[in-house]
Symmetry: C2
Subunit: 224 residues, 2 copies
DNA sequence: CGTAATTGAGCGAGCGCTCTGTCTATGAAT
DNA sequence: ATTCATAGACAGAGCGCTCGCTCAATTACG
């Protein structure tokens, strides 16, 4: 499982960096600093509304230094994307997701962990989902591939592990995509819902998904 | 029902036009022409990637003429939004939606009509959902209000009409928003689904929603 | 003193929007 | 019938500004 993440990380660096002579660790740390520093301004002003000067200032770097570690503004959006997938997967692992053997319980647990994580990082997810289509063709291709492989693919795998799932292959494919989509519902369209009741909303969404998939929720799932 | 649309339309014109002396019919026709002419370029290049010059050229107007009928670039996005709601509602009415008395059948029919319409206009919906948050504060407020009143509000009303719906008030509120969200799933995240099988996907989504709401689908709903 | 790291002024391009000059349709005056 | 005054529709050059990005100049360091 962890090697999947490592490969993802490696691919990011390869894609973003043109100069192979740069120290890989330093570059990774700097790119991490860029993502973390740029997040606040990006969430506030959006990608197009934020200039390179804004980002450089927010990261405590000069424009020149910034361009040592990225090669275009689009690279920053790309980094945000891979960063998002990384920390999401990390959270699943920290949440003990991979220690659950029953596949239905795994799905329930993964949904809860994901929805809570996504809600906590709602600014990030709102940003990712509304800005990513503005990437240039090449970056977009890679980002969509990553998403299909790592996120949709994650749910695809979970569904495939459930024996006797009452869905056709085609339906499972739609379902995998739909589950990812519903898991970002609260950041994307939940703005006129009472934010005090997020916990209940997550419960409802999970029940909704399970009923939609014709699955019984595991006993005592709310306590998990 | 129709007066609701009329009021919506009136509000658009009032909001967009500052000069009250302009002929209302001419203005409406020109604004219609702007929306229709601008759509293709906007879908292709996105709102930020499309300049006023592009839009003017695509509408067969000069920049000067364009600015006779709008007062800022944001007005165009606003027009696109209201236009979308108008044609969506129009389609529902043409589809004989309001002639169905049974509330559960109404919901099933509305979902099918909506999803098919949204899929046919997927470029428009992808555009609307990914670009609207870039509106300035005032335009955004109006657009979100319109959406909550006309679209979410539409589903809210449908759910309220179903006697003995096994959902709490809070759950119904989440569900109304979620239904709108799921109805735009195919344009927003269905890009790696087989476009030959859209019909089946819509069927699956409707079944999914009904199961999620704990509702039985009306008999023979597929033929409807 | 030489080399590497770092900077931010400057470049060319493109933006949203304005506004003045041009065109055209109309109709009163001759 | 012809001229001319007037007003509204229209065009697009130009304004002021900001953008992403580069690279000559400067600083820091061994």
């Amino acid at each position: 499982m962890q090697e999947r993440l490592d490969k993802m990380q490696r691919r990011v660096s390869e894609h973003v960096l043109e100069s192979a002579s740069l120290d890989r660790d330093l570059a990774d740390r700097k790119q991490q600093a860029i993502v973390e520093g740029a997040s606040a301004v990006l969430f506030e002003k959006g990608f197009h509304g934020t200039s390179i000067r804004d980002i450089a200032a927010a990261c405590g770097m000069s424009m020149g230094q910034l361009y040592h570690y990225i090669s275009s503004k689009d690279d920053i959006l790309y980094l945000m994307h891979t960063h998002t997938q990384e920390i999401w997967y990390q959270r699943l692992m920290e949440g003990g997701f991979d220690q659950i053997s029953d596949p239905v319980e795994r799905l329930a647990h993964a949904l809860r962990l994901s929805m809570e994580f996504i809600y906590e990082n709602r600014d990030l997810y709102l940003f990712i989902f509304t800005e990513s289509k503005h990437l240039d063709r090449e970056h977009l291709r890679v980002v969509l591939e990553l998403d299909d492989k790592n996120v949709v693919g994650f749910y695809r795998g979970l569904l495939a592990d459930i024996p006797g799932l009452p869905l056709s292959a085609e339906e499972s494919e739609v379902a995998s995509n739909l589950i990812e989509f519903i898991s970002v519902f609260l950041p994307l369209r939940g703005w006129n819902l009472d934010s005090e009741k997020t916990r209940e909303h997550v419960d409802f969404l999970i029940e909704f998904v399970f009923r939609g998939l014709r699955l019984e929720l595991p006993l005592g799932w709310r306590a998990a």
